[in-house]
């Protein structure tokens, strides 16, 4: 019955792979706890489904100074005037001037610009001859509101602007034709923009909260005292607490994209493996940030408050709620520091534009940097003692 009756068996202790072994111990423990916590478990499924239904329609404003590129195959007074006129509308801001169609396409695909204006060779001559040449305006319509307002303004603005330059009096009709291509989202359906955005938003919220509570919960339940008295290192605690939720995040992402494709008809043009990989990176980044929060705060209430403080700017400044390009510069800087901003570009680009890794290098790097930063802070902030 008691220890007295049975001799203690000598137990072999393994020294190798200590890091993996201890992280694994922590991971198994977290998995079991998650499985037992029915409410959290239900949240994993309910939250994405509910949000997806609720955010069916988005709030939008009219954007300004949308980053644009021009594919200039002819440099003349007339083309300069047209570009100037476009810029004067305050809808466009020309950041790039390229001379090659591939460069032009890549700028759009990587999300560096939302608009591209293509001026074909011999444009001025054709106008003067009255041939009504075509001025191609390509728009990234994954964000349909940002694109449509700007597209709608094109005809009038250009015509008015050109009056001074070329013609005496009002021409009866446009001297050239504007061909607008709403790329990637020709029907301007907002669900096409919202659903990929929701993948990011929901993941931010759930991932953040799951790990933000993890360390404080151990402290409040008194289990931290035991844990600290055992030979486990801060990095091992962190990995053990993050890894189970990577899987949870993966399930959620699948659920949202599945509903998006099935219910809202959102396409997935790009590579699914790339999407899964970069989503995992984003999930891990958020988990690290949540975990960092939990090493900084004193109790679960503070953890929740701090998560909200991070979550709100993520929603408002990432380009989920309002077009990123329409925000003031300082807000754009803040936005660049939020993982959601980068993930939104990634997920929209892959799903709607079929972007490849080549197009997404910057955002992938930014996510990786944010993740490593959060992990470093968490590991250094984790207190090994009860002092």
């Amino acid at each position: 019955m008691s220890v007295v009756d049975l001799p203690a068996p000598a137990r072999e202790i393994r020294e190798r792979f200590g890091f993996l072994r201890r992280s694994y111990a922590m991971l198994i423990k977290e998995f079991i706890q998650l499985r037992r916590d029915r409410v959290s478990f239900a949240m994993i499924v309910m939250l994405p489904v509910m949000q997806l239904m609720l955010f069916g329609y988005a709030i939008n404003t009219t954007p300004h100074h949308l980053p644009s590129a021009v594919l200039l195959q002819e440099d003349s007074d007339l083309t300069r005037s047209i570009l100037k006129a476009l810029e004067n509308t305050a809808y466009f801001r020309f950041l790039y001037e390229v001379h090659d169609v591939d460069d032009f396409d890549n700028l759009l695909k990587s999300g560096k610009v939302l608009f591209g204006v293509e001026i074909p060779r011999g444009f001025e001559r054709a106008v003067r001859r009255g041939d009504r040449p075509a001025l191609l305006v390509a728009a990234d319509a994954t964000d349909p509101v940002a694109a449509s307002a700007a597209l709608g303004s094109l005809g009038m603005v250009v015509q008015t602007a050109l009056k001074h330059d070329l013609f005496i009096g009002d021409p009866p009709e446009m001297p050239f034709e504007i061909r607008a291509h709403a790329r990637y989202n020709p029907a301007a359906a907002s669900s096409l923009n919202i659903v990929p955005g929701l993948v990011g938003t929901i993941l931010t919220m759930t991932m953040l909260i799951f790990t933000a509570l993890s360390v404080t919960r151990e402290v409040e339940r008194g289990t931290m005292e035991s844990l600290l008295s055992m030979p486990i290192k801060p990095v091992e605690v962190m990995f053990g607490k993050i890894v189970p939720y990577v899987l949870v995040g993966f399930v959620q992402a699948f659920l949202i994209i599945g509903i998006g494709v099935g219910l809202f008809g959102v396409p997935v043009l790009g590579n699914l493996v790339l999407l899964a990989l970069l989503s995992t990176l984003f999930i891990t980044t958020n988990l690290s940030i949540g975990y960092t929060i939990s090493t900084v705060v004193q109790n679960q209430l503070q953890a929740m408050q701090m998560s909200m403080m991070f979550f709100l700017p993520s929603i408002l400044l990432s380009g989920f709620m309002f077009p990123f390009a329409g925000m003031p510069t300082w807000a754009q800087y803040v936005g660049e520091c939020l993982p959601l901003t980068h993930y939104l570009r990634i997920v929209r680009a892959i799903m709607l534009k079929g972007a490849t890794m080549q197009n997404l290098r910057f955002d992938t790097l930014a996510l990786t940097a944010l993740m490593l930063l959060a992990m470093t802070i968490a590991v250094t902030r984790f207190r090994r003692t009860l002092d």
Binding site: V3, A10, I13, A25, I28, K29, S226, S229
Partner: protein, 310 residues
Amino acid sequence: MSNGNGIAIDVKGLTKSFGGREVVHDLSMQVKRGSIYGFLGPNGSGKTTTIRIICGLLTPDSGEGTCLGYDIRRDAEKIKRQVGYMTQRFSLYQDLSVRENLEFVARLYGLADARGAARDMITRLGLSGREEQLAGELSGGWKQRLALGACTLPNPQLLLLDEPTAGVDPKARRDFWNEIHALAADGLTVLVSTHYMDEAERCHEIAYIAYGHLLTHGTVEEVIAKSALTTYTVTGEDLNGLGAALTGKPGVDMVAPFGTSLHVSGRDVAALEDSIAPWRKKGGLHWQKSQPSLEDVFIELMGRSKDNFQ
């Protein structure tokens, strides 16, 4: 082992303050290997803090020492591998089952066969049939048993038990102490804090700590002898009246009722005898000079330290 001199814990001049309040003051102690060392003292006397400093959970403000030959400041990680710490409050995972808790500990310490080790421990603890029960649903006695099992699982050399028997029934307490003695017989060193005098008497050595000061230490006999306390046990009529009359008289340091008798103690024998002389002549009372009990010694120490340090 790096420490060949048979001392498991050797600390000197430990001091620790929280928010300007000194919780442990200049504390020095030595614990022999293989012994059961009792740590006694009132609530808030600094017992838990001292234990936490020894196992590396707290850093002392000043002072130094070794635990199992490792420096308590520098080698906390090595100490943690060799020490089992049973916290005052149940600190295993309430939402994990008995088996899952033990397997978690076994994996963390790198036991070769975590499942097997957990299974053996369940048998040893007599928890067979309850292995799938959640730890949070166990009764107080079983929780304490499980906690002891968890901290002995990785074969530690030293056990630090912080009030392990608080809130546990007498039968479970006795079983628990039998186990501790069996573990010590196998060579394990045990430092155990407690409030109970009967438990103190089961220790090889004891130390008494109050307001952060270590007031006395040694075997039970040594501690009683060192107190230099003279105690009279009085039986008879109206002991309450006698107690009230004697309290505060010169030489009377302590008056305490024990069931149907009254203990009257003092350090100054002459003054004590002068003060009680008038009552000794009175009929109806039986005076017996006796050995002070450990409790007499501690209550007297506590009363004295209250005047000195508070």
